[in-house]
Symmetry: C2
Subunit: 246 residues, 2 copies
């Protein structure tokens, strides 16, 4: 069986996230698997590097799947794009080694969260930004962002209470950039827990609004509970930008 | 009666254009008039600077309307944005002089046409670009674009056959800019005939594909008929960027 690696773009607005679910076909993984299963005449499973939540977008999601076909990676890409809905696209496809696994082999990910810091909606970007018109202290947010960087126990920054897996992660960098009336937060790390980027974002925005002192970030990273961390920002502002492999 | 001037943004995808129609409420003008009529308790008519076609977008459409209300322009804007659908927004509002008419007083307009020159779709921009993967000769298009500039009879570049009005217009500038795998065409002029930007665009793209010699542009501007000019490019790539007043 060949192993094919693809890079995907999608607008998450209409989907219940990446992961295939029993009771709904409306997931990115479900759409891809249905098309590949039809193409091959037998069941194909697709593994995604990031299990993006409902409403989260992707500029550079990576996935892989094993199948038997005469088609070249380019031809597989063209086939998939012909049958995919207009809000999902394959933008690259290549042969991968047998052992390549898009999620397990990923060594880093980049997410971007876009805040429209204005009371005036921006029609063309409305599906990709979270609108927050309140004044935000950029410098305070930048200082708080530095506290997140490094290797910490992020258990206060995940909504997943049941998992017994490690909640230790390394955040390499958080960049904050003002572009017109938009503020872009770029998160780089070796991996992120369920809802971790969105809860860090909510915490940063509360610091930016002076509703929370940045010293609390240090406390949260030591003895934190989810209830003490910031609000969960809406999914629409979040985009999986890139997945890295060593 | 006061005269209010507003600047509007909209995504045209779902609408049958700017202009109110008898048999459908699904026009930008219709949406605005319904909201203002409810606000004032009496019929309000909205005049738009550009009567954008079905599917055409606007970043800076200008409109004006006469009404009686105690609300400030800012309050009118907030009221309108509360009731407008998510694909239309008022981004500025101001008191105008009694005689101001958004269309009749306009001295210039800027339109932008976006071509995604790639075989790979761009999911986030898909509603705002026209996808044309064929190779395009940028230099040939730039030279042809220069021929359009100046004051000419553009009768070959309009779909409106019935009108007895003048078909003479002045195009001040056509800028062509490559941005990644996108080519942006910006048209500035004192006014544009029905479909004029989209037929000039189709003609330029045919020059870019070497399907048409640029010398034909000069011929079309002298003795042209619509049948001899280029194809009508799809509305989705077109955006009304700005309306100027002296």
């Amino acid at each position: 069986m060949r192993n094919i690696k693809v890079i995907l773009q999608y607008e998450g607005t209409k989907y219940q996230g990446w992961q295939r679910q029993v009771n709904t076909g409306n997931t990115i993984q479900g759409k891809l698997e249905a098309i590949l299963t039809t193409m091959c005449g037998r069941k194909v499973e697709v593994q995604g590097a990031g299990r993006t939540d409902a409403g989260v977008h992707a500029l550079g999601q990576v996935a892989n799947f094993h199948l038997e076909t005469d088609k070249s990676p380019e031809e597989i890409m063209v086939y998939m794009n012909r049958y995919l809905p207009e809000d999902i696209a394959v933008i690259a496809a290549a042969e991968a080694s047998q052992r390549f696994h898009s999620r397990l082999n990923a060594t880093g990910k980049t997410y971007c969260y876009r805040v429209l810091n204005s009371a005036t909606p921006h029609i063309f970007e409305r599906r990709y930004v979270y609108m927050m018109p309140e004044e935000l202290d950029l410098e305070a947010m930048e200082q708080a962002a530095k506290l997140f960087c490094g290797t910490h126990d992020f258990r206060a920054f995940t909504s997943n209470k049941k998992s017994k897996k490690s909640t230790i992660r390394t955040v390499d960098e958080i960049r904050i950039k003002k572009v017109g009336d938009e503020i872009r937060f770029t998160f780089q790390g070796n991996g992120f827990l369920y809802h971790m980027v969105r809860i860090m974002m909510g915490t940063l925005l509360e610091v930016g609004k002076h509703e929370r002192d940045m010293s609390q970030v240090e406390y949260l990273l030591h003895a934190g509970r989810r209830e003490d961390a910031g609000f969960l920002v809406p999914a629409m502002g979040l985009t999986l930008v890139e997945v890295r492999y060593s």
